[in-house]
């Protein structure tokens, strides 16, 4: 018996977390929950590409799916809300992936803040350009967010070129950027709206392409992210498209609240002072620091954990494959959980993978 595409993705992720995390960790991953636990785990298990790629998932639908996987002996219960993939599950997964591989260019962590604004601006820009070259001034924009409308309007006038050249450039850039092997550009183009041609909804596009909606969704993201890779790598070759990604959105962003904490840290405040100044719990500020460590490469944690203690924690973690904070804590009794989390956030990936 085969599995659906979404099931194969879930199986793959379950395989990767090896029953060490609950199935709800996948829910938080898909949702893109900005908690240090979720972000840390995504890095630890190298499943960052799946961060926030499926925000419409619900707890219930995930539970239902895992139950169905269990009923079919593809996974078995390891502990409360934890499952591991059975041998049969592994075989099935392998077979399924051969036929329908995982989205290799998709990168949820890198692009989770970029994807939506980029897609909104792109669809609107295409629609506006198409209507411009057809001299149609009366149409309903496919986007209704005021910010997006305003942004695109500004963007077009900033280009300062005539409508035909603008549309042609956009065409050339898109035709080239989308032309990426192992992606499916037609899944993106089907969704575009132009003059007297309204784009398809996700459901319609999936049906047109003969894919189950979740498969369509991942293939679409895969294609879009591959295009973003191309566009941002050679930004000078893609001035129009790369300009659709604002500078701030290119860095892996911090949540607003974390960003404030980061600002204060850079000004030299201690965590206690920040907690007091911002009227937040110390533990919240500590969560922020973990997020900062995960997001900003090269952030120095020596101020929070002495280098010797870092070594001790790393050593303990090395001997401890289950990656449980508690077990590390037992070995390094003078370390706080916060210190352990910081070290794991900083060295996690190199350490275990």
């Amino acid at each position: 018996m085969g599995v659906t595409y979404l099931e194969s993705v879930v199986l793959y992720l379950l395989k990767t977390i090896k029953g060490e995390r609950t199935i709800y960790s996948l829910y938080h991953l898909f949702q893109g929950k900005r908690s240090s636990q979720t972000i840390q785990d995504a890095h630890l298990y190298q499943i960052t590409p799946y961060f926030q790629v499926f925000p419409s998932v619900t707890r219930e639908s995930l539970e239902r799916m895992v139950k169905s996987l269990r009923d079919r002996n593809l996974v078995k219960e390891a502990a409360e809300s934890k499952v591991i993939v059975t041998e049969y599950g592994m075989e099935t997964l392998e077979r399924s992936l051969k036929e329908k591989p995982l989205p290799v260019f998709m990168n949820g962590w890198k692009y989770h803040q970029t994807t939506e604004p980029f897609w909104e601006r792109l669809t609107l820009l295409v629609q506006v350009c198409s209507n411009l070259v057809h001299h149609e001034s009366s149409y309903i924009p496919v986007r209704n967010k005021k910010d997006t409308l305003f942004w695109v309007k500004q963007y077009i006038s900033k280009q300062g070129i005539n409508r035909y050249i603008l549309a042609e450039r956009l065409y050339m850039e898109l035709a080239s950027a989308l032309d990426h092997e192992n992606t499916r550009p037609e899944l993106v183009v089907l969704r575009l709206t132009g003059y007297k041609k309204i784009g398809l909804t996700i459901t319609q596009a999936a049906e047109m392409a003969g894919l189950e909606p979740s498969h369509y969704h991942f293939e679409f993201l895969n294609t879009l992210h591959a295009m973003l890779d191309t566009v941002l790598e050679k930004a000078s070759d893609y001035p129009l498209l790369s300009g659709l990604v604002s500078q701030g959105e290119r860095e892996v962003p911090l949540t607003l609240s974390t960003d404030k904490t980061y600002g204060l840290i850079q000004k030299g405040y201690s965590l206690e002072e920040i907690a007091a100044a911002r009227n937040l719990k110390q533990s919240t500020i500590e969560d922020h620091v973990v997020e900062i460590v995960l997001s900003i490469k090269g952030f120095n944690i020596d101020a929070y954990v002495s280098p010797e203690k870092q070594k001790k924690i790393l050593q303990a973690a090395r001997d401890n494959s289950a990656r449980k904070l508690k077990q590390i804590k037992e070995r390094v009794s003078d370390a706080t959980y916060f210190e352990i989390r910081l070290v794991m956030a900083k060295y996690g990936e190199e350490q275990w993978n």
Partner: protein
């Protein structure tokens, strides 16, 4: 110049639609005016045209944010730049900016709650307002089917901005509702322009089906038989989806479901696909159609009956805007009444929810000012739907003092009164469905109108030959799925000559 000259000059139309000219003339002679014009007659023109002829701003109060947004977008699409919507969509910064430069705008759309704010009123008082327009004015009346408590203050607010010339617009308002509108708006003297609710080009048909399945099959049969495009209305999102899927399985290709549960991108796309002729049929909830201007809708089918005749008229009125014969078919099956009563009741909070709410307010010593802060908790704890919560919140925030026992009692009473009104409306709708006399005359009587002459294609009681609405065009040629995405892209962005 004659009014028609301006009509042509500003809007490129040759003729007014019924009622427009009388309404505009009444406004231009500086009479307060209540205009009841059937849907699809372009009510907005009644203030847009005077807007260009009068010196000063046109202030339009509109109850529904989506409707307001549509209206503003349409005007902007037509090239009018001096238009703005003041509502909760604006960020505080945008709001502040807009208020400092209000005199730049000719058409100012505003939500009733924004109008009630002191700093907004202060800005408005500095303006010359040449016309105060109340859209969907029946919402102000307790007799109206869509009563909105935040409309009640409009009379007082109108006084505060200097009692400007006033135009109240509505699609459906019986005589007592119109009198109520005038009273609530504090108009001493006013003119009424009342156009018949009758749409002679739309035949009104009631069919019966014994079971749900039979109804579904009949709907598909009709959709395949009738000349499109058409809309099928449902009172449930889920059934709208199911029916659209069922239609697709049964050979109706260009059909989609539309309801409030879809994301905003899909809603815009489906609406535009329908307008652009890429879809033949939309399976919709009542969320569909507001603000849509599609001339050639040929049929409207009701899979479920609406909760009041007023909504029914509004929905069937989306057909035949080009004046060509169209049909409205309501399919009834036993049990539909109960569903209608349940839905009407479900829109209102019940006694237990209210009691739980007040218990919570008491326990936590909360005042009504803090409601907004606790919205999420309260909705969860009391199990309110969005609509139910809106009713509760509007009522409580309109109170100046907090007296938990008294207010709980009066809120429950208010809800019981409204439930009685709603149930009465449902009963009228059911009577219409079962009436054994001419359907058109039943509707006209409900609005105190005298039936004039019957159109040839009148109603299922008078007899309608459905072949009149049969599909004329042969099955459309299958659009080939183009596999070449670059060519697709080129056809969007490059002028067609260039890709040949």
């Amino acid at each position: 110049m004659e009014l028609k000259g301006y009509l042509n000059g500003f809007f490129k139309f040759d003729d007014f639609r019924p009622g427009q000219q009388e309404t505009i003339e009444s406004v231009l002679t500086e009479s307060h005016t209540i205009a009841m014009l059937p849907t699809g007659t372009g009510k907005s023109l009644c203030y847009q045209l005077p807007g260009y002829l009068l010196d000063g701003a046109i202030l339009v109060v509109s109850p529904l944010l989506s409707l307001m947004q549509d209206q503003v977008e349409q005007m902007m699409a037509m090239g009018e730049k001096r238009v703005i919507a003041l509502n909760s969509f604006l960020t505080p910064q945008q709001k502040a900016k807009a208020l400092t430069e209000l005199e730049r705008y000719k058409f100012i759309f505003i939500s009733p709650e924004m109008l009630g704010m002191d700093f907004v009123l202060a800005s408005l008082r500095k303006l010359k307002i040449s016309l105060f327009v109340v859209d969907e004015a029946h919402c102000i009346s307790q007799w109206g089917y869509d009563f909105r408590p935040d409309y009640l203050r409009l009379g007082e607010l109108r006084q505060q901005i200097g009692q400007p010339l006033t135009l109240a617009l509505t699609a459906t308002a019986a005589r007592e509702v119109r009198a109520d509108i005038a009273e609530k708006l504090c108009l001493d003297q006013w003119k009424e322009v009342v156009y018949s609710v009758d749409r002679p080009t739309i035949s009104m048909v009631i069919e019966h089906a014994d079971t749900f399945q039979e109804k579904l099959e009949r709907t598909v049969e009709l959709v395949k038989f009738l000349q499109g495009p058409g809309i099928v209305y449902f009172s449930s999102k889920k059934i709208a989806e199911q029916a659209a899927a069922y239609m697709r399985e049964n050979g109706v290709r260009k059909v989609m479901a539309y309801h409030g549960g879809l994301d905003s991108e899909s809603r815009i796309l489906i609406q535009q696909q329908f307008i652009n002729g890429q879809l033949d049929v939309v399976c919709a909830t009542s969320a569909f159609g507001m603000g849509i201007n599609k001339e050639n809708v040929r049929f409207v089918i009701h899979f479920h009956m609406p909760l009041q005749i007023e909504s029914y008229l509004q929905e069937i009125g989306r057909a035949a805007r080009d004046g060509k014969d169209s049909t409205a078919i309501l399919i009834y099956s036993p049990g539909d009444e109960q569903l209608a009563f349940q839905l009407a009741e479900g829109e209102l909070p019940d006694r237990y929810q209210i009691e739980r709410l007040f218990a919570y307010l008491k326990d936590h010593k909360l005042g009504y000012k803090e409601l907004a802060q606790y919205t999420e908790d309260l909705i969860r704890i009391c199990g309110f739907t969005e609509i139910q919560w809106r009713i509760v919140e509007e009522y409580l925030s309109s109170l100046s003092h907090t007296d938990l026992d008294l207010d709980s009692h009066s809120l429950i009473q208010m809800i019981e009164r409204r439930l009685a009104v709603k149930n009465g409306k449902v009963r009228k709708m059911i009577e219409y469905v079962h009436a054994q006399e001419c359907k058109r005359s039943v509707i006209l009587k409900a609005f105190n109108e005298k039936p004039e002459k019957r159109p040839e294609y009148c109603c299922s009681i008078c007899g309608v030959d459905m072949d009149h609405y049969k599909k004329m065009e042969p099955g459309d040629n299958e659009m080939l799925i183009k596999l070449d995405w670059k060519q697709d892209l080129a056809s969007i962005l490059l002028l067609s000559e260039r890709i040949k």
